[in-house]
C-alpha cells in the first residue's frame, strides 16, 4: 500500500490550495449572492453564444441575463464584427427586440434593429440611425448622442463572450490566458451540429457547476448510463489563474452493449468509443494516453467546456438568485453525412442526455439539504481539486476591493 500522501497527488502539485473543508455559506446565503453578482458576474467575461448562431451579417441574437436584470443584443455587423448592446431603447427604455424566450434570434438584411414602440432604428454599431418625427424633439437634441448602450463583447474560437463591467476591462484573450491557449486550435466550428438543453434548477449555481466538475461521482451517479466506463481519477490537472482543466479517462475494460457497438462503429460519436488519430490540441492529453476520454475545463466563472475526439460539449450555469440557476447543456458533433450516421448520433446524444439527467438529479437535494444549516462545511478529497480551486478563486474575487 502507498503511504497516504502518495494518494494526494494534486494537493502536492498545488499545495497553496490546502485541504481544508470548504464553507457552504457561499452556496446558501442571499447576502453572499448579492455581492457575488457585483464582484464576479458583473466583472468577468461570460460566454453568451457561438458565432455559428449568428453566422451572417445582419443576424442577431438576444439573450436574457437574469442576474443583471438585462438582455443583450448580439449583432453581426456588415464589417464582420459581433457587437453587444443592452436591449433597451434610448427613447423611453422599451426593449428594442421583443423577446420570445431565454434566447431570441432574428436577422435583418440591412443589419439594423428597430424598436417596435416608436420605430427608432439602430445599426449594428449601436448608432441611432433613424428617428421618426425627429424634428419634434428639442432643437439641440442630437441623434448621434443616443445610440444603444454597448456591452463589452469579444469572440474567442467562435465563442461569443460579454463583460458587463462599465469602463475598461481586461481583454478577453488576456482574461482567458493559459486556458485559452490550452483549448485553442480545437476544431469547434467543424462540429456545429448542436443538441441543446436547458432547465431551471432550484439550487445555487456553484452546486450545479461542482456536480459536473469531478469524476468521483461517476461510479455511483452514472452506474446506469456509463457503468464501469470512466476512471474516477483525474489526469493532467492544470490550473491557469482563475481557470482549470483536467483529463477524464476511460477504464478500457467496459464492453459496449449491442446497440452502442453498432453506433460506435458508424461514427465513434459517443464518449466511450476508442479512436485513432487525434483532433485535440497537443496541450490536451499531452501524453496521448490510450485511455483518455475527454478534457473537462472550467472557464471562470460559469462555463465548462469539454473537448473530445469528434464531439465536444458545454455546461453553463447562470445564477438567477442564490437558490435558482438556469442550466444550459449543449452537445456538438460533426454534421452527419448519411442517415446511418444520423442514427448513431441520435443514440450517443440520447445516452448523453440520460447521463445529464443523472447528473442534475442530485443538485436540488444538495441545495435543500445545505439550506437546513446542518453542515457549515463540505469536505473535498484530492480528486475534487477543481472544486477546491473554484472556491479559492471565488474567495479572491469576493475579497477584492470594491472599485
Amino acid at each position: 500500500m502507498n503511504a497516504p500522501n502518495e494518494q494526494l497527488r494534486w494537493a502536492r502539485k498545488y499545495p497553496e490550495l490546502g485541504m481544508d473543508p470548504i464553507a457552504v455559506e457561499p452556496c446558501v446565503s442571499p447576502v453572499f449572492f448579492e455581492k457575488e453578482k457585483e464582484r464576479v458576474f458583473m466583472k468577468t467575461w461570460l460566454k453568451v453564444g457561438r458565432i455559428e448562431e449568428i453566422a451572417q451579417p445582419g443576424d442577431y441574437k438576444v439573450k436574457k441575463i437574469h442576474f443583471a436584470k438585462t438582455s443583450v443584443i448580439l449583432i453581426h455587423g456588415k464589417d464582420g464584427k459581433v457587437r453587444g448592446f443592452h436591449n433597451t431603447c434610448s427613447h423611453r427604455g422599451n426593449k428594442v427586440i421583443v423577446e420570445t424566450g431565454e434566447e431570441t434570434f432574428g436577422r435583418n438584411k440591412a443589419a439594423v434593429v428597430t424598436c417596435r414602440f416608436h420605430g427608432w432604428v439602430y445599426d449594428a454599431q449601436g448608432r441611432l440611425s433613424m428617428v421618426p418625427e425627429q424634428e419634434r424633439f428639442a432643437s439641440d437634441w442630437k441623434r448621434e448622442d443616443h445610440g444603444l448602450t454597448p456591452v463589452h463583447t469579444d469572440v474567442w474560437e467562435g465563442f461569443i463572450f460579454i463583460n458587463l463591467a462599465r469602463g475598461e476591462v481586461q481583454p478577453l484573450g488576456e482574461y482567458l490566458g493559459g486556458i485559452g491557449r490550452h483549448l485553442g486550435g480545437y476544431p469547434y466550428a467543424a462540429m456545429d451540429e448542436c443538441f441543446s438543453y436547458h432547465t431551471t434548477l432550484d439550487c445555487n449555481w456553484k452546486i450545479a457547476l461542482d456536480a459536473f466538475s469531478e469524476a468521483y461521482h461517476v461510479s455511483t451517479i452514472h452506474a446506469g448510463s456509463f457503468p464501469n466506463v470512466f476512471s474516477t481519477g483525474l489526469a493532467d490537472v492544470q490550473l491557469f489563474g482563475d481557470h482549470r482543466t483536467t483529463g477524464v479517462c476511460l477504464t478500457l475494460d467496459a464492453e459496449p452493449t449491442p446497440i452502442a457497438r453498432m453506433a460506435n462503429e458508424i461514427t465513434g460519436a459517443s464518449l466511450v468509443a476508442k479512436r485513432g488519430t487525434s483532433m485535440l490540441p497537443s496541450t490536451v492529453n499531452p501524453g496521448r494516453r490510450e485511455d483518455f476520454s475527454f478534457e473537462l475545463s472550467v472557464v471562470f466563472p460559469n462555463i465548462l467546456i469539454h473537448v473530445s475526439e469528434g464531439i465536444w460539449f458545454t455546461h453553463q450555469f447562470w445564477p438567477i438568485s442564490h437558490d435558482k440557476t438556469l442550466w444550459e447543456g449543449k452537445y456538438y458533433v460533426p454534421r452527419p453525412k448519411t442517415n446511418s450516421q444520423r442514427w448513431a448520433v441520435e443514440f450517443a446524444q440520447v445516452l448523453q442526455r440520460n447521463a445529464w439527467l443523472e447528473d442534475t438529479a442530485t443538485m436540488e437535494d444538495t441545495h435543500a439539504a445545505l439550506e437546513s444549516g446542518a453542515k457549515s462545511h463540505m469536505i473535498l478529497q484530492d480528486e475534487e481539486i477543481l472544486l477546491r480551486h473554484g472556491y479559492n478563486v471565488l474567495e479572491r474575487y469576493m475579497a477584492a476591493e470594491k472599485e
Binding site: S196, H198, S225, T257, I259, A260, M262, P336, N339, N354
Partner: protein, 113 residues
Amino acid sequence: MNATLPKEFEMLEPLVAEWALPTQNQRQVRRKAATRGELQYFYDNMLPRMPAILRHVDTYPMGELPEDAARLFSLALSMAEVAPHIELYGGSPGVPYAFEESRFVAEHGEERL
C-alpha cells in the same frame, strides 16, 4: 395507407403505430409511457433487423427518404431511445435515479428528420 414500411421490413409493421414517431420529444414521451414488456418486445424485434435497416436508409441521401423509408428510420431512432433502457437500465422505462425528464427542454426536440 396500406404498406407503410419498405417490403423487406413488413415484419415490423406491428411496431409502426406506436413507435414510428418523427420527433425526439415524441419518442422520449412514448418510451417513458411504455411498459417494461412493450420496451422489451420493441427491442427484441428491432435488434436483429438494425443492420439491414441502417443499410436500407443509407441507399438514400439525407433528407430524401421516401415515406416508407422515413417511417422505418423513425423506428430506428426509437431504438436509439429505447436501447439504453434494455441494455443498461434493467428494462426500466424511466432513467433510474434521474432528474425529472419533462423539465429538460430540448431545443431540437420538435425537429423532424
